[in-house]
Symmetry: D2
Subunit: 362 residues, 4 copies
């Protein structure tokens, strides 16, 4: 099957291939009378845009978004918002090799096994270019919940973790890695340069934190907030793992260590939420938010496109070897940061609306 | 919101509280003319059943399933299958303490924040008893895809991993931990006994492998197989992390290390799928199966119910302390094994049907 | 496929066959803290219950509903409400004839063509007994929107219309036909008696009016209120046509005749809605309510079960003749009245919640 | 809420306003390897296109469709197909009158009541221009089921019915009314001319017949084929009634008259379906197709835009009068014909895929 819609009441549908004329998203269910123009969306696309440093792919895309519907006189109308981004750098190149053989680690073989046809130009629909549409949609989701702030950053790159003590969110914009630890960012420059020059690649872990989320969002039991976040993150290209709160580390704690004790609310707390002594849970209990920050971590595998030849087969099943030339991110996790943040926004905004469907006064 | 249905074309809806008269599942979309009786379901419920060893909760539940609809003369008819399990051990007890205060780490506060009301008897809807309904539904999912075999086991308990070299799937049934490593199982006996006697609790990691899955299942891009698996697993009570294939470890590999080279198919391979040199990807690429085993790992936090008093608040917001007495699993991950396997089955069966919706010949 | 769930955010799933042990509904998404007990539901089931006059089937069913989940201390908790009705009058009878031949006008052949198996006892899942579950769910829907009042009645039976001038809603409960015109009810007694004694059957038209619906419910463009109502009504057993407002008659009006002029709101109007000079539209425009009464008309075909032999075929495709003996409604439209009202309630309550998902203040 | 997606496994999402830059549809779930280009879609848009005779609106739109994704080397790839149609005749005009007052019979007031904002230019999202996107999507649906042929036509206009004896489907293309009766078409010329010159408008009834549909499509009980067709048709702008088979007339038949007797299959029948003596049911029983032609009738109200002033109110609630100038269809039902056919195709193709999800061999 093909299933290109995400969300329950705030839903978005994306379309487009890496080397087609354009890609886009249709965002449905957005509340009316929210001020919206392209300039609310473009900065997020700019953050994800390729070609901004030597540490990401050299594909050059302006990634300019156009709003084609759903906005009237500067405000959302409640009707579907169609967003379109034209592909401008569909560099004409020789695809004959990957047209006839499957790139290991890519979706080439799987798409062919499923559909009996694949658009081999840059991976077609399986290309991470699709995530531009998510980032655009995510910008709208943020406007739906001004009470929530979302921050994402790389917390580990090629096995090298940030120093949590030295963490400073203001640093995120100061380096090419969305890294909140200046010293780590410097180390990573060398790491990524080395991988890039060797035609190799690196994995990374992205952490995302949403603050200001009131207690009560989430929909037990099959649309738990954690569950929807896990789906949202695991569906991003190259993602292989998702954690909420302490995640896998929680499996190594005792019940006493993992406890998040509660204390009476402090004045000025997030909508009267209690004070918590810890946040091992990552902001949810039973799939419902507790008023604590929602914390999620996402593992990106190393980019599959490497210069080292790897054994593979042709579409006729014959043995061959492939090395993936062309413009690639040496660490796809870096540009995953704005995508992770966008998916967090889209899940939370959907749950804000879902929650009030059931419990709003009017 | 409340969202108690899972799946896209094979859908199941569960209902019921820990201490209500019964719980159940309605399974919709099951293909017709599959032989089905209670005896196909009961063994899976028996595997999950509490009270079978000193390492799990002492609640005694027969967990006998009844099929109330959708089966005629021993075969599914294609209409909804209603499954019901009566609660028999709703031990009358004094709930006054947890009626008035929130158990830390439990969903008590979150449910109250959301709904303004909660069934405090045993956690009500947030109780892990709900997973009995999933296990029952999962047994039906297995029958929909006889070509697929699913195995799940605990691969780490309280931070103590199995020895992969010593792993033997035949051992899984020989101990109380669903552990495929006899030596580890012995060590875990002591570990869990110690935790149990101390009124403490332990986390665990459950691994699940599905073999026989043909290439081509999965639905890009928002119903990727990985994405649906992540949602399915993260929605299980006490789960905080999900990995596909190498998961977080993949973020620490280089592109060369993470490559899954492909070789021409061997005679008798799974539906003509190529041979792979490794399975770092865990059986999927681009959200679609490759014909390799689908591999998933799930992190369970330690049971939140412990005897050590933890700071908390009352429903009026006053400071208090709570220690959770009663019958509890010292390591909820153990009984999570049949639940993880059931969710794997439900996701795969749904995708089998989804896949043929789009590409079946007839 | 099998698709036994209805609704978007207020969703209900029904299960059960005519001659199985029980049938039921799981209602999901109901707001919390609504007072609910069996006694809120039973009166609606009693109105639909068979065997109450000589004009309906003589099957005797107590149709007693049990609430199995979702209610705690007399209030809804926001979790799924499981409703169960046991089948008590599954009269043992000889089904050999319909087991081997298809009753014309019934779903026997269609189910067999689809599934290759059918529960032939009383029509199995295709029996109108399924509508008991809808009526039970509908009772809950009504409680979600106390501002709305729903009335349904037969406005035409066997081609004989009520006199709109003589219409009196208080009469509906005074006769066996849910007829708001006492004189028509008397004529219908004879009509239905004659059909019953001749082993024949009659069609009917049911009208349903919802008042108190505020302006603004509905979800353009593929969940228009009209659209969801049409689906809800056309899915009731034996229904062949649905109209909103003037319906087919509107196709014979000129634009001037069909206009619904608007005037400034009167004091005390339904949430400040304007006054309308007419209601040809039946309470909606562009799929959204206008504050006028929502009006819907539903055509029921005559019961297919008649004593006159009709040509048919056996499941082996051989020619045969069938006359349907047994207990049947001579006019299935009569007992359709509570079902139509229930579906109206379920659609409106769903849209109340959907509407506030998108536009609620909080 | 806003809900712009239709379908269950073959899903399409439409977007765009009457006077925005463009409108479009994203079609998801289409099977792969179907030959598709703009030339497969354009003829259907041309049939719906305005300005082709004096009997329809004089708005001039080329309605040229572009495929932006989902097709590679002339074949569908199984990924979402994005279709875009630019609006070229957004004639600059003075909207001040309808910006400040509600056109009776239009969705102006309802949209404002719902959203607190409306795009008043040509009705914005509530304009029938949206149906161009459905017609484009419908062209793809037809290609998914080459075994099915769909014909639609006006069978009644302004209360004047065609002569069923004189009906000739070949006539449909020979007149401006999609009328299968040449004599009626001539009478209608006068009728529509008179209405047009008087600034009045007329209603119409459109009939749609699908042949070649095998027995077994449909999804009991809440996605019955009839139910989905009713939703599909009732959601078309200006539609107020839907019938399947004999529809409301069936409510006036006796059980004997309404019987559809069955006879053994004839050689060469539609997939071995039995022969039926009549088709009062319109091709379905229990919501599942029987192999007979699927027959549906749809009532269009007269266009609400008329030159006669009608009482209305301003957005401030003050009394006013409005006469709708500008370019309008004197009988919107005429251009509804390709839309009805498209919706029939979309529902049937969805059910083809849904059916094989549950019962396909592979």
């Amino acid at each position: 099957m093909s299933w290109n819609t995400f969300g329950r009441v705030l839903r978005f549908t994306t379309w487009g291939e890496s080397h087609g004329p354009a890609l886009g998203a249709v965002v449905d269910g957005c509340p009316p009378r929210i001020a919206l123009s392209e300039s609310d969306i473009q900065p997020f696309l700019d953050a994800r845009r390729p070609g901004q440093s030597r540490f990401t792919t050299q594909r050059q895309e302006a990634d300019l978004v156009r709003i084609l519907s759903g906005v009237f006189e500067g405000q959302t109308t409640g009707t579907p918002i169609s967003l379109m981004i034209e592909n401008t750098d569909q560099r004409s190149k020789d695809y004959s090799e990957i047209a006839q053989a499957y790139r290991p680690g890519h979706a080439d073989y799987a798409y062919d096994a499923k559909y009996g046809i694949r658009d081999y130009r840059g991976g077609g629909r399986s290309s991470a270019r699709e995530t531009a549409a998510r980032v655009a949609a995510g910008a709208i989701a943020r406007l739906i919940m001004p009470e929530v702030a979302i921050t994402a950053y790389v917390c580990e790159l090629g096995g090298d973790e940030i120093d949590r003590e030295a963490m400073n969110l203001d640093e995120i914009g100061n380096n090419a890695f969305f890294c909140p630890d200046a010293a780590a960012a410097q180390r990573w420059e060398e790491k990524v340069d080395a991988a890039r020059l060797a035609g190799s690649s690196l994995g990374a872990i992205v952490e995302c934190v949403a603050t200001g989320v009131p207690a009560g969002w989430g929909a037990p039991v099959y649309a738990k907030l954690d569950s929807d976040l896990a789906a949202a993150m695991m569906g991003i290209n190259a993602v292989k793992g998702v954690e909420i709160g302490d995640g896998f580390a929680a499996a190594r704690l005792s019940g006493e260590e993992n406890a998040d004790p509660m204390y009476p609310a402090e004045a000025g707390s997030n909508q009267g939420a209690p004070r918590f002594g810890a946040n091992h849970a990552g902001g949810t209990a039973g799939g419902i938010t507790t008023g604590q920050p929602v914390v999620c971590r996402v593992a990106f595998k190393p980019t599959s496109s490497i210069l080292t030849p790897v054994d593979s087969i042709t579409s006729e099943g014959e043995a061959t070897q492939l090395r993936t030339k062309g413009r690639h991110d040496p660490c796809v996790g870096i540009r995953g940061v704005p995508v992770v943040a966008a998916m967090m926004a889209l899940v939370l905004a959907d749950h804000k609306l879902l929650h009030r469907a059931q419990v709003a006064k009017r």
